[in-house]
């Protein structure tokens, strides 16, 4: 992997997440019925930051859960080694909720598809909206980002790497080039 | 018959050992060292081969009549001569049981029909091997039975065993016992110990053998009748016999190639070809038995050739029958175990598979001397061969050696003056 560009700093990331938080409140006319689900791994710290911004603005405590989509992936049979399964942690009722599904990057849409299926096994939310830090295009499924921090056109040979304090010890977003084999 | 000249072989001249000599087998089937013809004979260079009196097996399950799907006369006689044997003692557990003179007669005549080797039948001690009523041992002896045994169905009733031995002794029959206490053995599949526990299979305790050896020693001493214990598997069992011999008890015993070559750990992969009765014991037992061979304390060797159909050995370990097919491989396996690995010279033990059992049965010994009828085998100690279903002549392919390479193989066998192995035109 070769680093090509640093496209977001910590300040950029927080500015985007703050705006997303405000858009979520605006779009849903407040926080009534709202719930946030972070997709493992990097959707979790990003989701937590969005929750904090929302709670601060609205003086609320929006329910937060973690979703692990490994067992719902459609590519298990093409992977050379089995991905580690972590627990999904949702300790509130999803029925009738306005669920905000948070992830770092929206790419093919397959992760979102898996998450949607998993959420449906938990209950019947009133709606599901997607919030991502980066939308990089190349969708393979009819899925969109309701809230996006940045829309960045990319080549398929490129990889967007979102780093967070919790998972990587720092906040930043990089574009790297896959090494040619 | 063709004439043969064998050159550069190491010929056994017991008890002196091997000596390099040329010899010929003449039209009359006799051996000569002095009058080797200068033409009209097939000349074979057998450098690196040993020439030994043909082998004798005291313990063969020929399975026929009655279980021809496991083994038959055609295959067992082929396996025998391919392994260097020209005499086999058949065990009585045929169907019907060899407990009467008609079956003995049938086995001898049927054996002769193939003209490859001689089958010396053992009769049973009791009718149907049932351990209840004495069999017609006298009439069986008249038809040619050489010994009696309830092999595999050891008589549990001590009083009956004593009567059977006394009756057999009346006719001078050789008495052989497979020492096993049925109550102690019941439901067991392999040696009782770590391996059996690990595999979750009920064990056969060593004491099931030793308790009967001890009983037989006492009977033999009490009645002053010789008894032979076949396939001794344990150190303790052999020690009991050694001690009894010192006290003058007329007891003899044999050991099999597999008990000398393998231990219980061979069973760890559930390979049913290692399922044998008596079972493979511990390494300590095996080493002790080898020590006895080294010290010349074993009376003879015996194969306990026990062929089974392939599908029978494909049953789970607890359902598969006991036994290993042995005639084809016995000599090669022992050469590997005793001579290559244990460095016991060939001439020190090979007689245990030849004249030693002949002597026990008071039969004429075979020798490689001037004018003797040709009864010998040529063992090429450098010939490597792979044991496969195809290279085995026995119908029973149940040997743990399948797929293994062995060094050393019989290349010629002569029986009563004629070449019987390799097969083909004589």
């Amino acid at each position: 992997m070769k680093e090509k560009a640093r496209i977001m700093s910590k300040e950029d990331i927080f500015r985007s997440l703050k705006r997303i938080a405000h858009e979520i409140i605006e779009f849903n006319h407040g926080v009534e019925g709202l719930a946030i689900l972070g997709i493992r791994r990097r959707g979790v710290p990003l989701g937590k930051v969005i929750k904090e911004f929302i709670d601060k603005t609205e003086n609320s405590d929006v329910p937060f859960g973690i979703i692990d989509i490994t067992l719902y992936r459609d590519d298990l049979s093409t992977l050379s080694s089995k991905p580690k399964v972590n627990s999904t942690e949702i300790d509130f009722d999803l029925n009738n909720k306005l669920v905000i599904l948070v992830d770092d990057v929206l790419y093919t849409g397959r992760t979102t598809r898996a998450a949607l299926d998993e959420i449906m096994d938990y209950g019947r939310p009133r709606s599901i909206q997607t919030a991502v830090l980066i939308d990089r295009g190349h969708r393979e499924l009819p899925i969109m980002a309701n809230f996006a921090g940045k829309v960045i056109p990319t080549k398929k040979t490129e990889v967007i790497e979102v780093k967070t304090e919790e998972t990587d010890g720092r906040w930043e977003v990089l574009i790297v080039e896959k090494e040619k084999k | 018959m063709k004439r043969y000249i064998f050159r550069n072989g190491m010929v056994l001249d017991a008890p002196k050992g091997f000596a390099k000599k040329d010899f010929a087998v003449l039209d009359n089937g006799k051996i000569t060292f002095k009058n080797i013809p200068d033409r009209g004979a097939i000349e074979i260079d057998i450098s690196g081969s040993y020439v030994i009196p043909s082998l004798f097996d005291l313990h063969t399950h020929i399975r026929c009549p009655g279980q021809e799907y496991k083994e038959d006369f055609e295959h067992v006689t082929r396996a025998a001569v391919a392994g260097g044997f020209t005499e086999l003692c058949s065990m009585p557990n045929t169907k019907p049981v060899a407990d009467n003179e008609a079956i003995i007669d049938y086995i001898i005549l049927e054996g002769e029909r193939y003209g490859r080797c001689r089958i010396h039948p053992f009769g049973s001690l009791t009718v149907g091997l049932q351990g209840e009523k004495l069999a017609r041992m006298g009439l069986m002896k008249n038809k040619g039975a050489v010994g009696v045994t309830d092999d595999g169905m050891c008589i549990q009733d001590t009083s009956l065993m004593m009567k059977a031995m006394e009756y057999a002794h009346t006719f001078g029959l050789f008495i052989m016992d497979h020492a096993e206490d049925n109550y102690l053995k019941k439901g067991g599949f392999l040696n009782e110990g770590l391996v059996a526990d690990k595999l979750g299979l009920k064990g056969i305790p060593e004491i099931s053998e030793t308790i009967i050896i001890k009983r037989d020693i006492e009977i033999s001493r009490y009645l002053n009748i010789p008894v032979h214990i076949t396939h001794v598997s344990s150190k303790r069992g052999a020690e009991l016999i050694m001690n009894a011999k010192k006290e003058g008890v007329k007891i003899t015993f044999d050991i099999t190639p597999h008990h000398l070559s393998f231990n219980e750990e061979a069973c760890l992969g559930f390979n049913t070809n290692f399922k044998i009765n008596p079972p493979l014991r511990t390494e300590k037992d095996r080493k002790f038995l080898i020590g006895l061979v080294r010290e010349g304390k074993v009376d003879c060797l015996a194969t306990d050739h026990a062929p089974h159909a392939k599908f029978e050995k494909e049953y789970p370990f607890d359902g598969a029958p006991f036994g290993v097919s042995n005639l084809d491989t016995a000599l090669s396996l022992l050469y590997e175990t005793l001579t290559i690995k244990e460095k016991i010279p060939f001439e020190k033990w090979v007689g245990l598979f030849g004249n030693a059992p002949r002597k026990l049965l008071k039969m004429q010994e075979k020798a490689l001397k001037e004018n003797a009828v040709a009864n010998f085998a040529v063992f090429d100690k450098n010939l490597e061969w792979k044991v496969t279903e195809k290279t085995l002549y026995s119908k029973g392919k149940n040997t743990p050696l399948l797929g293994r390479k062995l060094k050393g193989k019989v290349s010629f066998t002569f029986y009563e003056g004629a070449r019987v192995y390799p097969f083909g035109e004589k």
Binding site: D68, S80, V85, N86, S87, Y122 | G193, G203, F270, Y315
Partner: protein, 302 residues
Amino acid sequence: MRKHLITVDDLSKSEFMSILEQGKAFKEILTRPIKKIPTLRGKTIGLLFFEPSTRTKLSFELAAKRMSADIVNFTASSSSLKKDESIKDTVMTLDAMKIDIYVVRHSSPGVPYIVADHIRGSVINAGDGAHSHPTQAILDVYTIWERFGTLKGLNITIVGDIKYSRVVRSDIDAFLKLGAHVTICTPRTLLPFSVSSLGVKVNFSVKEAIKNADVIMGLRMQKERQDSGLIPDEVEYNHFFGLKEEILGSLNPKVLVMHPGPINRGIEIDGEVADSEFSVINEQVTNGLATRMSIFYHLVEA
């Protein structure tokens, strides 16, 4: 690469730990309103039960269904439950139907190896005679590990019919592998011959054997033991080797009482003990389901 689970030894310590750790995620699935995940969609699991079993079969079947696998059942009728039936022929027929994972139970030790030799998929041993029962060991370990966080240094006492128990063999292997100390308590006639080389302590007194125990595991007394003359009768057995109500007073509050089931109340364990606050016997059943799902996930081939 295809992988089998025939004995506990087929798993490295890290694979073992991975099954336990990820078992948590599967246990969570069992608490959801819709207890089903699509992970094994399109995979086929064959349940080959040559020996009757209710609990283990149910657990495997439910684990497979929770993961959306298709299931085919092969249950040998009692008439063909002979030891000499041709496993090879049966299994080759099934293999022609392209099954991904075979769950095998048989009364003869070693049968899972015969199955593995004649198929293309993976084999999970669901109990072969007195040889091995690795999934039971995994669920037992999971139950202890979930409570204590580790097995290292724990004192585990196994009380009961040990001689021909596949559960004990597998449990002892697993407990020792993960660093626990094991004590077994049973009359000498029910001890394995090679007990001295197993690496466990033996104590003939239940009271002493459980004194410092963190885990007490009872084992089912198999009724045929009396017929084979290994113990006199159930009354005497319960008196000396049963987990009796009296022990409850002396236990420290963190002790787990376990039993692989089904239990004989009043023989190897009194009802008061099986139903006490120490008992995790029902938890073991739930954990069996979760760990078997985790095992399927680890074994299924891409």
